[in-house]
């Protein structure tokens, strides 16, 4: 069993591991969605630019994709912004195949699910489909910085920002024997880390490329410089994201997969990304 965090004293997780089995079908999930006229979509809360709440409305790239998918099925989107648990396995259990212990009903589909062969082998209760974007980590600098292509060690003594407990955090904390550890500012999100470049809070930030691009779009006058070269010794080469449905909901999954294929082909997907300032990049798995 793999867990991202050691910390917890008492894990909730799975009554189900030992008790309830996945409920018996639901033979026709696609028909059910069409009958009810609603596609219930699970998205991460507070995950800008992908999904977040503003004025009671779900915003973001994933929220827009969710609405487009619902439209393709001829139904309304019911977007559920959920709190991330400790790792993807917890999220899939809470959101896709079992539901929360305190009454949160499972969703028909979850977006922004890592599309990874090892993960697929571990998760037998869900089907992974439709890799629709390639995530990578990148960096950016404030307008005060002359050369954003310099090695990160050059930022010693200036403020550097990252999302708390993310790979960028571990990267900057451990970089060159901890040389930047004292200069690191921790923010609750990667978007927040990149946004710290706009107001003098930080001069260098490591976050996902999408988070950085979205901040650049949201603050066009801030003079943020996006680093072009790769980060030396970055631990993650990037990862694909896709969608997940419950194991017994394949026909729904295939219908959504078809809709996403169409969105890619007709440019609708890239257009949604562009509205949020993010350059769409096809998933590696989709390029094979």
């Amino acid at each position: 069993m793999s867990r991202p965090v050691l910390g917890r004293r008492e894990f909730l997780a799975s009554a189900i591991l030992f008790a309830a089995l996945p409920s018996t079908a639901n033979a026709a999930p696609l028909e059910k969605v069409k009958d009810l006229g609603v596609l219930r979509v699970g998205l991460y809360a507070d995950n800008r630019p992908w999904s977040w709440a503003e004025g009671g409305k779900a915003m973001g790239i994933d929220a827009d994709i969710a609405r487009t998918l619902a439209e393709a099925l001829g139904v309304r989107a019911d977007i559920q912004l959920f709190l991330a648990d400790e790792d993807i396995s917890d999220d899939l259990r809470n959101v896709v195949w079992r539901g929360g212990l305190l009454g949160f009903q499972p969703c028909d589909v979850m977006l922004h699910v890592p599309f990874d062969r090892t993960l697929m082998q571990q998760e037998n209760n869900v089907v992974f489909l439709s890799p629709y974007y390639r995530e990578t980590f990148g960096a950016a600098c404030s307008r005060e910085v002359g050369n954003c292509e310099a090695a990160p060690a050059a930022f010693k003594g200036r403020k550097v920002a990252a999302e708390l407990a993310s790979i960028p955090d571990f990267y900057l904390l451990g970089y060159a024997g901890g040389t930047l550890a004292k200069d690191l500012i921790h923010l609750p999100t990667g978007y927040g880390a990149a946004a710290a470049l706009t107001d003098g809070t930080a001069d260098f930030a490591v976050a996902t490329t999408a988070q950085i691009e979205a901040v650049v779009k949201d603050h066009p006058d801030a003079g943020i410089k996006v680093r072009k070269g790769p980060l030396p010794m970055m631990m993650s080469p990037g990862w694909d994201i896709g969608i997940a449905v419950k194991e017994n909901a394949r026909n729904l999954g295939f219908a959504l997969d078809e809709a996403i294929e169409k969105m890619i082909a007709n440019g609708r997907l890239a257009a949604i990304f562009a509205q949020h300032g993010v350059a769409w990049k096809p998933a590696l798995a989709a390029q094979a």
Binding site: R3, R9, L12, T118
Partner: protein
């Protein structure tokens, strides 16, 4: 067994009436609660007294007659929430108050088992509680019963009707805060810790006015944060960046999720603190004060008097939250005010509770791979550096390290008991270890993440759980009872020379406090992970315990799960007594 040292009852249990507590219209006062250990006619505090020794002076039930103990009634908590009943009941004025999992509170008639009322907290359905759906018990004061809920509220109910008197938010559940511990009542204040997800939260202790729920003082437990008293700043905890790098102190962890104990003679509450964040110790050089510590906090001001850190620079998730139980003993001819804690890390610590000085530290589990003993001069562990999990420095699976105890600890939340007669602590412990390695294929909130993979496994053929009787002055284990499945319930000791505890296999068991001989057991129908109590009622001695398997242990697969795979869920209050002659 000869008593090895004398125990003093220290003002607390002054020789007041041993008869059943009178039914006072106004309900228990703070003075009554301080005196709980000396009034066996009721149980009005978590731990059966402010020291939480879980020792009863009752001896009508004893080693001679315990074999005749029979159930009086079983009362179901009902509904579908049959899981994780970790509570300790309270008994007052003919009523048993007990919390259930999923933030419920029940009042039962103590004579008939009939339910008087039930309160179900309305919880937001989007909560992903960090620490299971359990609750460990309520507090009682005046006309109120008070308990904490999974969405990080503190709720005071009218004890006669179950109607809400006040309801205060103690943290943001959206940010991962939760609450499961029993509140502590001291000097008309209700004092609680906090609990929550790993990152971004900072442990704190809060004292509130018991009548209104308004905050009196707050003490953050991580250095650099500033406490408050009556709304005004009240000094920094520790010294900024003395043991943390950069801004990591801002999100340093140290949740105080198990609550605290109280010592009237020093006017101190003792709270344990959780592990520091982030999880990988290589990313946060330094001791990371005051994570994984016991803190002595002044009751009136919330100022820290002393600290003792059990696991400096924790790298194994050895929370320091376990209860610090005050006791008095004579060491080398000198009467001393002491306190003891059986830590997650496998060591049993005895401290001078007036100043935090280490008096002794002894292993109470089979194996501690992470350290070879505790240095009595410095108070620090003798680390085994090669057994510290590695730094997450590459996108490859790291070297696997075997660590014992596992991160669930030599002892977890379940409270130990101390017998003032035998002078022994009865520690519900577990012998297990874990393989732990850096795991490159991990994802958190849709993003790649460097996690830790681990597998918990038994380290003995015949048991995981072990109830151990430990002499705090010598560190000698006087007896042990081995249990196949992990022990996860609290312990009770009595003047009848008895020790009670429950097992996941469903039994409530009674042992001879001196020898460890198992004298009695009763199958409750589900695993017992609650804490038993005893009291006197209508001239007879009663014992009660919750039954209902759950908590953290059922999560873990592999070898550990084999020990409890046939155990069913439940939710039942059981009450026992001797048959009438």
């Amino acid at each position: 067994m000869k008593r090895r040292f004398s125990t003093l009852i220290a003002g607390l249990a002054a020789a007041t009436s041993l008869a059943a507590a009178p039914a006072i219209a106004g309900g228990p006062t703070s003075a009554d609660i301080v005196n709980d250990a000396a009034t066996p006619g009721d149980v009005i505090s978590y731990g059966m007294g402010p020291w939480q020794q879980r020792f009863s002076t009752l001896d009508k039930l004893n080693t001679q007659n315990v074999t005749k103990l029979i159930p009086v009634f079983g009362a179901s908590l009902g509904g579908e929430k049959q899981r994780g009943q970790e509570a300790q009941p309270l008994v007052y004025d003919g009523t048993i108050y007990v919390t259930g999992s999923y933030s419920r509170l029940f009042a039962f008639d103590a004579r008939t088992g009939e339910k008087k009322w039930e309160y179900n907290a309305r919880l937001p359905d989007g909560i992903m509680p960090c620490c299971d759906v359990v609750n460990r018990g309520a507090a009682i004061h005046g006309d109120k019963v008070i308990f904490a809920t999974l969405d990080a509220h503190l709720v005071a109910l009218d004890r006669h009707t179950g109607k809400v008197l006040w309801n205060k938010k103690t943290g943001e559940y959206q940010a991962g805060y939760s609450a499961t511990a029993a509140p502590l009542i001291v000097k008309d204040m209700v004092i609680t810790g906090n609990s929550g997800g790993e990152f971004g939260i900072v442990g704190a202790v809060q004292a509130r006015n018991v009548d209104t729920g308004e905050l009196v003082w707050e003490r953050p437990v991580i250095e650099g944060h500033v406490g408050t008293l009556k709304g005004q700043p009240n000094g920094m905890t520790g010294k900024l960046n003395a043991s943390w790098t950069g801004d990591l102190w801002k999100t340093g962890g140290g949740a105080t999720w198990l609550g605290g104990t109280y010592d009237p003679s020093t006017n101190t509450v003792f709270f344990g603190t959780g592990n520091p964040g982030p999880w990988n110790s290589h990313l946060r050089p330094g001791d990371n004060l005051y994570s994984a510590s016991t803190l002595a906090i002044d009751v009136d001001t919330g100022v820290i008097k002393w600290h003792y850190q059990t696991t400096p620079h924790d790298g194994w998730d050895f929370d320091g939250v376990n209860e610090f139980v005050p006791f008095d003993a004579t060491i080398k001819g000198k009467p001393m005010k002491l306190g003891a804690k059986a830590d997650r890390n496998g060591y049993f610590y005895v401290l001078d509770r007036t100043n935090g000085k280490l008096m002794g530290a002894h292993k109470f589990v089979m194996q501690t791979t992470w350290a070879n003993g505790i240095d009595l001069k410095t108070g620090r562990p003798n680390y085994v550096p090669e057994n510290r999990p590695g730094a997450p420095d590459a996108a490859v699976k790291g070297k696997s390290v075997f660590a014992s105890p596992s991160f669930l600890g030599g002892k977890n939340w379940m409270p130990m008991a101390f017998s003032q007669d035998t002078g022994l602590f009865y520690v519900p412990s577990n012998d297990w270890g874990m393989d732990i390695w850096n795991e490159p294929i991990a994802y958190k909130k849709g993003a790649a993440y460097l996690g830790a993979g681990f597998t918990i496994k038994p380290i003995a053929d015949d048991h995981i759980g072990a109830l151990r009787a430990m002499d705090p002055t010598t560190g000698k284990i006087v007896w042990e009872y081995k249990n196949k499945a992990p022990l996860w319930g609290g312990v009770l000791a009595t003047r009848g020379n008895l020790v009670f505890t429950g097992t996941p296999e469903g039994f409530l068991k009674a042992f001879d406090a001196k020898t460890g001989a198992e004298l009695w057991k009763f199958q409750t129908g589900s695993g017992v992970v609650g804490s038993p109590i005893t009291w006197e009622q209508d001239g007879e001695q009663f014992v009660a315990v919750m039954s209902g398997w759950g908590g953290a242990v059922p999560l873990w697969g592999g070898e550990v799960a084999k020990t409890f795979k046939e155990i069913s869920q439940g939710g039942m209050l059981w009450v026992f007594k001797l048959p009438k002659q």
